[in-house]
Structures are given as C-alpha cells and as structure tokens.
C-alpha cells in the first residue's frame, strides 16, 4: 500500500484529478469569500480547500502535493491565519472594544460589505485549511513511513 501511496493512483484517476482539482479549489474559495452573503463561511471553505490538496495528494502521491503546498508553507499559513484572526480582533480596539466591527459596513448583499466579517472568514479558512491538511499528512503519511521502517 505504501509504495502505491508514494506513486499515486492509476492514469484514469490522475486524468480526472487534473480536471477536477482546480474546480474544487475554486469552489472552496467561492464558499469562503461569499460566507457573509450565502451559506458557507470560513470553516467550510477552508475544509474544501484542504480537500482539494488532499485530492491531489491521493491521486499523484505526496511529492506532487508538497510541490504545490510544502510543509513549511502549511505551518506558516496555519499560524498566520490564527495571528491574522487575533490581529483583526485586536484592531477593534482602535474604535472601542475587542472584536469591534470597525470597517465601514457597506451595502448589504454585496461582496464588499459587512466590515470585518469577510476578513475573519479568510483568516479562519487559512487556519482551518492548512491545519486539516497538516493533520491529514501527519496521520496518514507518517504512519505509512513508520510501517516501512519496520520491514
């Protein structure tokens, strides 16, 4: 299993993946950017973005996926998302209190509206996407690696 895991799956799966993975990534970005207008939001969008990378990793093996999103980048995005969320919350102090919605609300039902909520969605999606990708890598790849070592 581990050897096939390294090299990815068959040609059919690889071809289908090449067609679908971009669409899945775009759909995740759509969900997270429209979180304040339509159902969805940062958490669901981040999970879908992470799923697109996991899809790539399952089909093509880990080398290809790490070329697109390396471990360092994933850990940077995760910590960066958490810090960005906290900074947005802290910058509410400029107008009064923690988590103050200090940006102009704008017109409802537009993409650029609702003040800090889209920014929070983006921060949470970075955090959730990179974090779940890291959990997947840790739980799946490291386990197969240690099995190889036992042989």
């Amino acid at each position: 299993m581990s050897k096939e895991h390294q090299a990815g799956m068959s040609l059919i799966v690889k071809t289908i993946t090449r067609l679908t993975v971009g669409l899945i990534l775009l759909y995740g970005i759509y969900i997270l950017l429209h979180g304040h207008i339509s159902p969805g939001g940062g958490f669901a969008g981040g999970v879908i973005v992470a799923l697109s990378f996991i899809h790539l990793m399952l089909a093509y093996g880990k080398e290809m996926a790490f070329k697109k999103l390396s471990k360092g980048a994933a850990s940077f995005l995760e910590s960066g998302g958490a810090i960005m969320f906290l900074l947005i919350a802290l910058s509410g102090f400029s107008g009064g209190y923690f988590f103050l919605n200090f940006i102009n609300k704008g017109e409802p039902f537009r993409l650029f509206s609702a003040g800090i909520i889209p920014l929070c969605n983006i921060a949470i999606s970075f955090k959730v996407g990179a974090g779940l990708f890291a959990i997947f890598v840790a739980l799946v790849l490291l386990k197969t690696n240690s099995k190889e070592k036992e042989r």
Binding site: P39, G40, A50, P108, N121, G131, L139, V140
Partner: protein
C-alpha cells in the same frame, strides 16, 4: 416531518451496523452513511450552513479513517467479566434514560424555540453587521469569542497531533536530521 423520522431511523440503523460489523472498512463506510444522513437532516431542518460544514468534515474524516485503517486489523478484546460490564452498562443506561426523560419535558416544543436573544439577532443582525448571512454575522460578530476559542482548539489539536505522531524527538543543537524524517 415524516422524512426526518425516516432519516433518523436510517442513521440509527447505520450506527448499529457500524458497531456490529466485523470488517473495519465496512464499519467506516457505515459511519460515513450516518454522517451523510445527518447532513441531509440539517438540510431538511433548513440549516444549510451546518449541512455544508457537516458534509465536508464528514468527507475529510472518511478519507482519513479509510487511509489510516485500510489493511490494518485492530485486535478486538472480549475478555471476561462480561456480567460486571453488562451490569454497569444497564445501570448507566437506566440513569441516562431517566435523566433524559426528565429533561425532555422541560424543553420547548420541537420547532418552537425560545426566542429571547435570538429575536434580537434576527431583527437587528442585518443593520448592525451588514452581513446578509445571519449565521455568519452571529459567529463572527455577535459571538466572535466563541469562534476565537474554536480556532484555538483547532490550533491546539493540530499541534498535539503533530507532536504525538512525529518520528524524531527534540533535536540537539547542531544535529542534522534527514528531510524525509520530519
């Protein structure tokens, strides 16, 4: 409402199958069926936000479970003391059923929640936050502390997983480790 009961029965059957079946992969698939039924139930109850989140998290969990458990048989221990174990199980079941029966009578009727705080959110959510999606305005504006706590929980979980499953311990100063070991 009848479709909700059908879904609930389907989910209960799926959960029982997941417990009783011997093959680990079939059990994982049955758990996935339960999660799918739960997301459809959220859709029927008109909560699309929760349904989307439930669906994608369920898919992710299914992939991780299948990848982690495939071709791996976990030892299943049925040791002695079955009488003691089933006695404790029956005792706890009785206590929980009694408590649940007492508590359920105090709850408001299904579909008619108490709208003390929620009605304020519904009336003023759009004008106060400018977000058309009220769920989003609640989790990121009115109750943003909850979301901050949830983000912290996820961060801690990721750090914990990475700490537990890594293969090398702490590096000495100047010690080099092969890149594939990390």
């Amino acid at each position: 409402m009848i479709e909700l009961y059908i879904l609930l029965i389907f989910m209960i059957i799926g959960a029982i199958v997941a417990i009783e079946v011997k093959d680990l992969l079939s059990s994982v698939v049955a758990v996935g069926a339960v999660g799918l039924g739960l997301s459809i139930a959220f859709l029927i109850l008109k909560a699309p936000d929760v349904a989307i989140t439930q669906l994608v998290v369920e898919i992710l969990c299914l992939i991780i479970l299948i990848r982690a458990t495939l071709k791996k048989d976990l030892p299943f221990s049925t040791s002695g003391r079955w009488f003691f174990n089933s006695l404790i199980t029956a005792g706890f079941l009785t206590i929980f059923l009694f408590m649940a029966a007492e508590a359920l009578q105090q709850l408001p009727k299904f579909g008619q929640p108490i709208m003390r705080v929620a009605s304020t959110y519904l009336q003023q959510g759009l004008s106060e936050t400018g977000a058309a999606n009220l769920v989003s305005s609640v989790i990121l504006d009115f109750r943003a502390y909850d979301t901050l706590g949830e983000a912290t929980v996820l961060f801690t979980a990721v750090i914990g997983v990475l700490t537990l499953v890594r293969r090398i311990g702490r590096k000495k100063i100047g010690e080099k480790v092969k890149a594939e070991d990390e």
